[in-house]
Amino acid sequence: MTYVDYTTGSALTDGKAPSGPINERWDKRRFEAKLVNPANRRKHTVIVVGTGLAGGSAGATLAEQGYHVVQFCYQDSPRRAHSIAAQGGINAAKNYRNDGDSVHRLFYDTVKGGDFRARESNVHRLAQISVEIIDQCVAQGVPFAREYGGLLDTRSFGGVQVSRTFYARGQTGQQLLLGAYQALSRQIAAGNIEMHPRSEMLDLIVVDGRARGIVARDLVTGKISTYFADAVVLASGGYGNVFYLSTNAMNSNATAIWRAHRRGAWFANPCFTQIHPTCIPRTGDHQSKLTLMSESLRNDGRIWVPKAKGDDRPPNKIPEDERDYYLERIYPSFGNLVPRDIASRAAKNVCDEGRGVGPGGQGVYLDFADAIKRMGRKAVEAKYGNLFDMYARITDEDPYQVPMRIYPAVHYTMGGLWVDYDLQTTVPGLFAIGEANFSDHGANRLGASALMQGLADGYFVLPATINDYLARNPNQSEVSAEHPVVQEVLAETEDRLNLLLAVDGDRTPDSFHREVGELMWEFCGMARTDAGLRKALERIPQIREEFWRRIKVPGTGEEFNQSLEKANRVVDYLELAELMCLDALHRAESCGGHFREESQTPDGEAARRDEEFAYAAAWEFTSTGSSPVLHKEDLVFEYVHPTQRSYA
């Protein structure tokens, strides 16, 4: 049986989601959840993997509650997790602008923005919690932008018509992360968190059907150790780096979630990836990563390409009537602020027509000339100064003088480990939060919602729901390094690393990463077809086979060895890529960021097929290269009726 011949297993239901009116469900769940007596909490150990917005906020909050937290990050400091690079802002339904916003509207926008592939209960809870997040962050000293009266400022983001995005210049992620990092630091100093920086999770330990610990490698000494707990929380981020070029940090990786998947956590909607419309185009084969330009730029910048194909005049020599402001033309009511998936696809379309600009025709203009005329250069500088500087530094062009050139790039993954309403995976005791889970964004995430979800999960949702799990499992048996299951997982990890070192081939880890990344971008990127996906599915096992024959990793495992770290991550990309392609192949509809060329409306928009695909696809691992089992969780829409999304 080949990989594409997957079988469909039992249906999946979210056993934790309460019923009743949607605005009462979170209260109801919190009330029904069992509590752990404060005096008993210190007897429980919780492992948290990752220190981004989700992991940092979860670790700090669990420690404040009295749990003993053991936390890991691969970076040299928890302050460096990639949440730090989020630029634009964080959404919250505060309605400070009195512009008609409400919890219900944020809920509605998010479900619609996700193209009706997210769970209503989860999204509503997210919208409710959004208002508390802002309060929490302000109390921590997060320096949000303020008006002259001393109150908080907000701005608009794509896919919505209210101004609900709170921001700290173009560094909102940095400021929110430092808030969480500082709260975490306070708990580390208090002895409530045992922090392991420069340590990478390499496997999950499941004993008697429950997550009981992890295997981690100290990246400085190379020592591989086991750690045990009553519950494990994965906050290790998304898997966009499978594409090699993305806006993720260089070391962001999928190993924690992929290893958990191999140990029994089902992986949901892996093909739902977000291609962000406004990134700086690549310049050559040396390119190691792509840099995003905040979506907030679309508030004032106008996107255009020449009307004529192959028009290679410099932008300021192209007269107004020979320019095509295509987003404003096709989507007059949302204009440049359409959701990300729509903006990206539109950019691809005009470039495919031969109207792209810059080297290779892989770019469109984002022009601030009108904004500078209207607001003055000073105001533009105050609003976007750091982004303009960043652009100028990378491209050596002055965006105050010439329009920016932008092109879509992989940015975020909506898919992730399947979790129930409690954020628990299909492995009891294993929780997944933030980008590592699949739950809130459906098939497309709206701008400024990732920060909101990471912090909602970490500060508010997980600390409430994990109580219930721990209270119901108060006396778990002791697990030690001598346990046969632990010995087996440890041995597998050591064998894998030893094998990587032993092959001594003639290709670097990066060369394989680049090869699989380019394949994914071509066949599982902005537009996907049945034929293309089948081609990728044929090619991936071949690359994997070649990898284990030709990989070259210098040095040893008992030292600081960045090549070994990288090679081990590529092992997992080479399996995950296959599942992403299979998921994309099986979902023969277009929705959000998943665009199947076979399924489009007459005017080229994504055509959903609700009767067949209104479900979350959760995949169960069998073995490497063998077809997985599909479990469907039907999505029910009681409050937001699925319609063809319209931003015109």
Binding site: H82, V138, P554, S563
Partner: protein, 249 residues
């Protein structure tokens, strides 16, 4: 471009280090400095040699991981992070010296990678506002005057890279510490811990073995985020005020 690189190689914390010379060719001016090093490392791996270890992650100037002294300057000739330095700042035929941060409080782990955990301990000593999750008042309950909010933001921009320490002739961490003290102490939310924060953070800074400040100003020149030198003066003022206030208690 063809370049000669002289790179600090040191197997581990206990080993002796030395500069090693490498040639790289086919370097494009659009490459970032780290992409140039990637090119070298790909060649080294294929030759069966140990690639040069260096810290890096976001490669967009915000995570603070990258940390190279290039031709004697922390983060190199431009005022930015190493990852945002591009090869157009160099010429064909140049010889480039690449070293790790040099400071006794930042011991070398391997090659160009250093241990900056001392910074984490300074933050742990008081670089936070005690605001347990759930206890926060409504965000608009306390307006913050815009100039104070802007002042806080300018200092909160610090990315904790350590260039200030690497650039300082004394290996002092005053700019890093003052950035956090000033960010939190100017805000009304930070007021209740204003005195203990500055006293505890400065004490921890001293304990970590960072040098004293002689206002050489190299730190502020090297800072990729433009934290101003006057930040140190503000912290000294805070420290003096706190010392007197605590003495009165």
């Amino acid at each position: 471009m063809k370049l000669t690189l002289r790179v600090w190689r040191q197997k581990n914390a206990d080993a002796e280090g030395a500069m090693s010379t490498y040639e790289v060719d086919g370097i494009s001016s659009d490459m970032s400095f780290l992409e140039m090093l990637d090119t070298l490392n790909e060649e080294l791996i294929l030759r069966g040699e140990d690639p040069v270890a260096f810290d890096h992650d976001c490669r967009e100037g915000i995570c603070g991981a990258c940390s190279l002294v290039i031709n004697g300057d922390a983060h190199g000739p431009e005022r930015t992070t190493t990852c945002q330095l591009h090869m157009r700042s160099f010429k064909d035929g140049d010889t480039i010296d690449i070293e790790p941060w040099r400071a006794s409080a930042f011991p070398v782990i391997k090659d160009l990678v250093v241990d900056r955990s001392a910074f984490d301990r300074i933050i742990q000593a008081g670089g936070y506002i005690t605001a347990p999750t759930g206890a926060a008042p409504e965000a608009h309950a306390t307006p913050v005057p815009k100039p104070d909010a802007d002042f806080a933001f300018e200092h909160a921009e610090c990315i904790g890279c350590g260039a200030c320490v690497a650039a300082c002739p004394n290996g002092a961490a005053m700019l890093f510490t003052s950035a956090k003290v000033n960010h939190l102490n100017v805000l009304p939310q930070g007021a209740p811990e204003r005195e203990t924060r500055v006293l505890d953070m400065v004490a921890q800074m001293d304990e970590e073995g960072f040098g004293g400040c002689t206002l050489a100003g190299e730190c502020a020149t090297a800072c990729p985020k433009g934290i101003p030198l006057v930040s140190i003066t503000s912290m000294n003022k805070e420290w003096l005020r706190a010392t007197r206030k605590v003495a009165k208690r």
